[in-house]
Amino acid sequence: MLNDLEYFEPETISDVITFLAKHGKDTKLIAGGTDLLVDMKKGKVKPKYLVNLMKIPELSHIIEDGGGLRIGATTTFREIEESKLIKEKYPLLFEAARAMGTVQIRNMATIGGNICNALPSADIPPALVALDAKAKIVGQSGERFLPLEEFFVGIRKTALESDELIREVHVKSPPAGSGTAFLKIGRTASDLATLNVAVRVTLENNGACKEVRVVVGGGVGPTLIRSKRAETLLEGKILEEPLIEKTAREVSKELKPRPTSIRASPFYKIEVSKVLVKRALMKALGRAKAGEDR
């Protein structure tokens, strides 16, 4: 049962900001509701006010602009999955969006809600971080950009202030010579991730690795983990299987899975991270070489 509350349906972002400035602490924004309503049913949150973001036209879009993509906060996963633009130019986002939830959930769930919910096992954040995504945050004091990995500060904790909301997610277009891969392990086809890995490999013309991102999610720490070790080990090198395998082992040392997860033990997550990171890197490398991601 949901608690009694008052409901608002603003049509502009500035209305939301004004409302939050006044009632931020007692308010919950609602987008798809797939996380919030579950929490409310369990009595975990009891907002006095509910502000629906879904009727605000300026929050829902997928726009290519400059060197990247702007995804409005209330864009649903289904819209991302079905966007031709994303499928062709940002296959990593397509793969991660598709791996998420079920058709019904993807019809409802939004990218903004997913990020703000900050579940360590969420699927799209690792892909976004691998593409150096930034959150465009708006509030009373104006707007600010935050790299997504800094946006997540703990299990279901974000850097958002109570008077702020996410307006957009900005994603850089992968540079020429890039290949990406998203891999997820769950117990069944539609399960929260036991482990997920998003990888981007960008190669120089001479075949050396110019830039790499290895991002691991699935409850391997309070937030997803962007592996710095992988970047140090691989950037500037010619990528070959032994080096990739070694990197995968190093990445696994950065992970700190919780022992309380019912999905798998820390041991399992660490063991399998070695496998998934290796496979994702190999796959991304292959794609980079084949020029599949542009």
Binding site: M1, I185, R187, T188, A189, D191, L192, I262, Y268
Partner: protein
């Protein structure tokens, strides 16, 4: 095989259209004026005495109409198991007790104007607990000094069986046929392993639902999602201490049962709340409650030891079983007994020893679950068979064929033990298991695949195949009874009133087909009215794979009695002796004169013209023996040795269910059981913390398969003819859930050379086992 007109045809289910249209057919699809909503307060503790309950604040809350707890309901020890009286389950439960025995045990209940109020009211109940030490591990439950879960003096069995609650010992039986030790001596090889199977929830998509109200005569009507309407009437009457005549139980359409609804789980509370408030009361479990406060498949620890000779003779079998009954004992003994009674007759073996115990622990209680103990025993036995075949270097196909029971044979187990105790002697009069094995192997491509997988591909992914055979006896002989009533209408159609409970299985359709076949009428002319204790005659209910076989025989007998009456009237009308007449296409025809009278003429004459009477009949059938249904299953798996992930690629089931009265419905039963079995084998799992709390009470955390997870499943129905069943039919509901555990375990072994003796075969378990092996 005999050919029939209606039997053996895949007529659509009689209720399929209204269901597909979304008509209000389920228990919760009615709204009654003034209906109250009930909620139950659950124990947060695994084991505690309730020192006091203060419901003062709750009762004072506006909108609350009744609060029940141990202080204000009669203490009637009973069992929640929906079984025939006297139930073979211990009387160890009361509506509300001053003791709780598992997290999720009942503490109190409320009826209020709305669900919101009821929920608020729950929070106002003050309970003072005195915590008691708890025991969760069945292997420790019988130890000296272990906490005694049922220390109340009034728990007991109605039937004379072993029961020692002071040591948490809920049931014990052992038996030996032949001479086990001698059999061991004759063996060339002896194999021995310990196995473990895990908890499983039924996960019927419709939760337990009950609506109680009073009719114009002041009688209590219970509209409930049950597999056992007549047992519900009896047990609720018992709990409420009112005569059965005051209660009417209606079973509407049921959204799946699988054994979970063979239980009086909520009906007693809902009925008591209706009694107290004199208002309609609705009680529906949440999904979470299904996981914390319903029933589960009994987890078991099993020790198997077998002896085999080089020539393939199975010389001895020993199975020791320790069943974890959980906090209460519904079905504990009978499920345990089936690990022998209904599982071991499969094997050709003269020397069998079986020792079984069921123990109480402070976990969620076990109950009936499709497969009912046979699923548990089929796992060790199926794996042992595979290992024995390998040890003597024989192909499992040949080894299984050599060592399984055949038509015309008997097993000493039949006589020694039944589900409830003493067995009946019987000969297997129908069995196409050898053909099932051959055809299944052929269609699956057993030999080619075994050959192919001798050479595994490079890389981490390996492939393997495994098989297992299974049996499931239907009904509990000399106890289970079913009956049917039918009457003829003006247009020659019939009302068929059956006590049997269709829970989505298609029983109504199958029974209509048997009736139609017997009277040579189309199925449309049979109007089925199922399971209403005021109107339909008694049936034990939908369990023990009994409906097609037993209720089917009752229907057939009813139809035959009606046929006699029709022929009598027709004989009078035609002026010809009955012996010359036969029934054909809704008419009676004289073989001599060729004259013909239509059913509609016959019935009109009976109703309106001469010697008026209602053409109608009732008949009952008592089960005399448990007909044996068989199957051979073949699984092909892919194992990722780096992640431990197991994927079933293809699965073939060849099934002997006698005559398939409705092949499409029979296939549906097979497919549903197999998929349930596969998802149990691979992903379904309960997690408990050290306080006995269920950590994953949701579909998000307890994973059952959805469509993208399914393998290619092929079902082959291999007919046989069971002379004691209606038109040769046996049963099909349960047997196929017994295959996936052993077949998949064997296939994993074939792929990676490691055996899994503990279930489920999750990625993590498989990876661990592979790593252990690598470390050796």
């Amino acid at each position: 095989m005999r050919e029939f007109k209606v039997v053996g045809k895949s007529v659509p289910k009689v209720d399929a259209f209204p269901l597909a249209l979304g008509k209000p057919l389920f228990a919760d699809d009615i709204e009654l004026k003034g209906m109250l909503h009930a909620k139950i307060l659950w124990s947060p503790h695994a084991h505690a005495r309730i020192k006091n309950i203060d419901t003062g604040k709750t009762e004072a809350l506006p909108g609350v109409h009744a609060v029940l707890c141990y202080k204000n309901v009669p203490r009637v020890v009973h069992t929640s198991a929906g079984q025939s009286w006297p139930e073979p389950s211990p009387y160890d439960i009361v509506m509300f007790d001053n003791k709780v025995r598992h997290v999720g045990d009942r503490v109190a209940a409320i009826a209020a104007e709305t669900e919101e109020i009821a929920e608020k009211a729950l929070k106002l109940i003050k309970v003072e607990y005195e915590l008691l030490p708890a025991v969760f591990d069945p292997e420790q439950a019988m130890d000296e000094g272990a906490p005694v879960i049922h220390d109340e003096p009034d728990c007991k069995y109605l039937i004379p069986v072993f029961y020692d609650p002071k040591h948490n010992h809920c049931a014990h039986i052992d038996l030996e046929v032949g001479d086990f030790e001698q059999g061991m001596k004759e063996a060339d090889f002896v194999i021995e392993h310990k196995f473990k199977t895990h908890h499983e929830q039924h996960c019927s998509i419709e939760p337990h639902t009950c609506i109680c109200y009073f009719d114009h005569a002041g009688r209590l009507v219970i509209r409930t999602s049950t597999q056992v309407p007549f047992h519900v009437r009896r047990i609720v009457a018992q709990c409420l201490q009112v005569p059965e005549r005051m209660i009417r139980v209606i079973k509407p359409r049921i959204g799946g049962g699988f054994g979970g609804k063979q239980e009086v789980l909520i009906d007693d509370v809902c009925a008591m709340l209706a009694m107290r408030t004199k208002r309609p009361v609705r009680l529906v479990y949440t999904r979470e409650e299904e996981f914390t406060s319903a029933r589960v498949r009994h987890p078991m620890v099993m020790w198997a030891k077998t002896g085999v000779r080089k020539d393939g003779t199975l010389t001895a079998i020993q199975l020791r079983v320790l069943s974890n009954a959980g906090a209460y004992g519904p079905h504990a003994m009978t499920v345990m007994n089936n690990t022998c009674a209904k599982a071991l007759p499969l094997f050709h073996c003269e020397n069998i020893k079986w020792i079984a115990d069921a123990v109480y622990t402070n976990l969620i209680p076990g109950g009936a679950y499709r497969g009912y103990g046979v699923t548990q025993a089929a796992f060790p036995m199926g794996v042992m068979m595979d290992e024995m075949a390998e040890t003597i270097g024989m192909d499992p196909v040949n080894f299984w064929k050599m060592n399984t029971i055949k038509k015309g044979e008997t097993s000493p187990i039949f006589k020694a033990l039944s589900e409830t105790g003493k067995g009946v002697e019987m000969i297997v009069e129908s069995c196409s298991l050898p053909e099932c094995i051959d055809r299944g192997a052929e269609i699956f491509g057993w030999r080619e695949k075994r050959e192919r997988f001798k050479n595994q591909p490079e890389g981490p992914v390996k492939y393997g195949v495994g098989m297992s055979c299974m049996v499931q006896g239907g009904t509990v002989p000399l106890i289970d009874m079913a009956s049917a009533f039918a009457k003829m209408n003006d247009d020659g159609s019939f009302n068929l009133l059956i006590g049997a409970a269709d829970l989505g299985t298609g029983a109504d359709t199958v029974l209509a087909q048997i009736f139609a076949e017997t009277l040579d009428i189309p199925v449309e002319d049979v109007i089925v009215y199922p399971s209403d204790t005021d109107i339909t005659p008694f049936d034990k209910g939908a369990y023990a794979s009994g409906t097609t076989y037993l209720s089917g025989m009752a229907v057939l007998k009813t139809a035959e009695k009606i046929k006699e009456q029709i022929l009598n009237v027709a004989a009078d009308m035609l002026g010809e002796p009955k012996e010359d007449l036969r029934i054909e296409n809704k008419a009676v025809i004289s073989s001599k004169s060729g004259k013909r009278v239509e059913f509609s003429q016959i019935v009109k004459r009976a109703l309106y013209i001469k010697d008026q009477f209602q053409i109608a009949a009732i008949a009952s059938e008592l089960s005399r023996l448990p007909p044996q249904s068989f199957a051979a299953h073949f699984a092909e798996v892919e194992v990722d040795t780096e992640t431990g992930q197991v994927k079933v690629l293809s699965y073939v089931a060849a099934v002997d269910c006698g005559t398939a009265v409705n092949p499409k419905l029979a296939e549906g039963q097979v497919e549903g059981a197999i998929l349930n079995g596969i998802s149990y084998a691979l992903t379904e799992e309960f997690f408990f913390d050290d306080k006995g709390r269920v950590l994953n009470p949701s579909f998000g955390d307890y994973k059952i398969f959805s469509a993208p997870d399914i393998p290619k499943i092929t079902t082959i129905l291999v007919p046989s003819y069971e002379p004691t069943g209606p038109y040769g039919a046996k049963t099909v509901g349960e047997v196929n859930i017994n295959g996936p555990l052993p077949a998949i375990s064997n296939a994993i072994y074939n792929a990676v050379g490691t055996r899994l003796y503990d279930t489920p075969f999750t990625s993590e378990r498989v990876l661990n086992v592979l790593k252990e092996k690598g470390a050796d």
